[in-house]
């Protein structure tokens, strides 16, 4: 059990959303510096480094060299956008096993300045992945894959475009208070469902933003946490689960959160009803809706009804989510929303979210990451955090 064996001491979200003048390693370095400063630590304190496929090089080695780190532990687990959520769990396990004491996690990327059509251009996996010949020729993109999941969810459970739109409405309501958010205008359900169709049934405003930037997290041992002048955040529970096409027994109405959620709650010794704030991966509105069901915040199939009428809006709803504006409005650096999910969850626990969206008496939070595609295969990871006394 990891509970109480590691603490998040530092976080940093890069303020940029467009950085054509910066290199990719430079962005990793800037977020690393920011998170270490936030923790009151320095690069020389770091003995474990965690990064995923958005970091250039062979695993963590090239970036360790660039950053000038002296390490005794690296982990470059790649699960797409959920990677940093996985990394926090792996860092906590490594710290608990005595393999490192100060773990630095970075994520950064520049898809916006690269002019990348993230959602609508096929992503060639050009490699020898075994499914390649049976998928790539049919033009799978991010948006039509998630579109297929939404279409099936609507068919089985009667979910509507208007219900999906409420997810975006909630995110935009929060984003108006975030001066760094890419999109700061509050939108209505009508505006979402009347925005251009990207891939049925998902409209443009059902899709996340494409941004440059990144974020970093510093995870430390309990001893180091005690020595820092920072309100520390305790890792209470963590679990991860890959979900795939299961030999052709395809079911797109649920995500890997169905498995990672209960395991994380069990480790933390709490239930979904105990959660004060949740960062839910929001590559698309449908991602949020399915994940909320899978994590147990409502019954499977009831996600559409659950998110309606502002139920995800801080101060109004039962489950305040993504109070930074999330990937739908604020930031989705490197096409990966995992690190920003952790960062806003930590802000909420520390009481450092914007006053208009801060959840009062916020004691237990959740951050969930989804990497890959809910249309094929994904890496899901759930992280549960609490305050020092949790």
């Amino acid at each position: 059990m990891l509970k109480g064996k590691a603490f998040i001491a530092g976080i940093f979200e890069h303020p940029t959303r467009y950085a054509p003048e910066k290199s990719l390693p430079q962005l990793h370095a800037e977020v690393a510096k920011g998170a270490l400063d936030d923790a009151g630590l320095s690069f020389s304190d770091v003995d474990g480094y965690f990064c995923a496929g958005d970091a250039p090089g062979m695993g963590a080695i090239n970036m360790a060299e660039y950053l000038g780190l002296g390490l005794r532990y690296t982990d470059s687990t790649e699960t797409g956008g959920s990677s940093p959520v996985v990394h926090v769990g792996h860092a906590a396990a490594a710290i608990a096993a005595g393999k490192c004491n100060v773990a630095l996690i970075t994520l950064a990327g520049k898809p916006r300045s690269a002019g990348q059509a993230t959602g609508t251009a096929p992503r060639t996996l050009g490699s020898a992945v075994p499914e390649s010949g049976f998928e790539a020729p049919y033009g799978p993109t991010t948006s039509n894959m998630y579109g297929m999941a939404a279409m099936r969810h609507m068919h089985e459970y009667g979910t509507t475009s208007e219900q999906l739109a409420w997810v975006k409405v909630a995110a935009s309501t929060h984003a108006q208070y975030n001066p760094n958010a890419l999109l700061q205008d509050v939108v209505t359900v009508e505006e979402v469902v009347n925005s251009p169709m990207i891939s049925d049934p998902l409209h443009r405003l059902d899709c996340c933003v494409i941004t440059d930037g990144g974020g970093a997290v510093v995870v430390v041992s309990p001893e180091i946490a005690k020595s820092l002048h920072r309100s520390n955040v305790k890792v209470l529970g963590h679990a991860e689960a890959p979900k795939h096409l299961n030999g052709g027994h395809v079911d797109l109405t649920f995500t890997g959160a169905r498995w990672s959620g209960p395991l994380a709650f069990k480790e933390a010794g709490i239930t979904p009803a105990d959660i004060d704030y949740a960062s839910i991966y929001d590559s698309f509105t449908i991602t949020v809706l399915e994940t909320i069901e899978d994590l147990g915040f409502c019954e499977k199939g009831q996600g559409g009804r659950f998110v309606m009428d502002g139920n995800l809006i801080s101060g109004i709803g039962k489950l305040p989510f993504n109070t930074d504006g999330g990937g739908l409005c604020n930031n989705h650096p490197a096409n990966r929303g995992g690190v920003t999910k952790i960062i806003e969850a930590v802000r909420q626990l520390r009481g450092e979210a914007h006053e208009k969206v801060q959840v009062p008496n916020c004691e237990l939070v959740l951050a969930h990451g989804t990497g890959g595609s809910i249309g094929t295969r994904m890496g899901s990871a759930t992280l549960i955090l609490g305050g020092e006394d949790a």
Binding site: S132, A136, G139, N144, S199, H249, V250
Partner: protein, 131 residues
Amino acid sequence: MSKKQKVPVPRINEETKPFWDATADRKFMLKLCGDCDQHHFYPRSKCPHCHSLNTTWVQASGKGKIYTHSTLRRAKVPFTLAYVTLDEGVSVLTNIVDCDPDTLSIDQRVEVVFRDNGEGSAMPYFKPAQT
């Protein structure tokens, strides 16, 4: 996938070559496990269900129904991506062709149609069933 577009050539490996060879003869092949008697897709030498290595090629009916679909409106030429659940019980990723995407529905019956790619194999697609 409009008829005017170039038919893609899939990436083929040693394990999947029999599938693609059979497409030239307009056959859609599946792997069947000799131990648990279940089909799987995409085809591999190892059964992903019971973990047996005793798998054999069998010809599928080429008929099934739409599990889900999405038409990418933002593509230069909009096309429909879908999973089709074959009558043998496994779902395959494909495009629905020869149809008006606005008329498609989940559970609609479809059948396989092949298009030669000029490289010795043919891409299987699905179209609304005739009957």
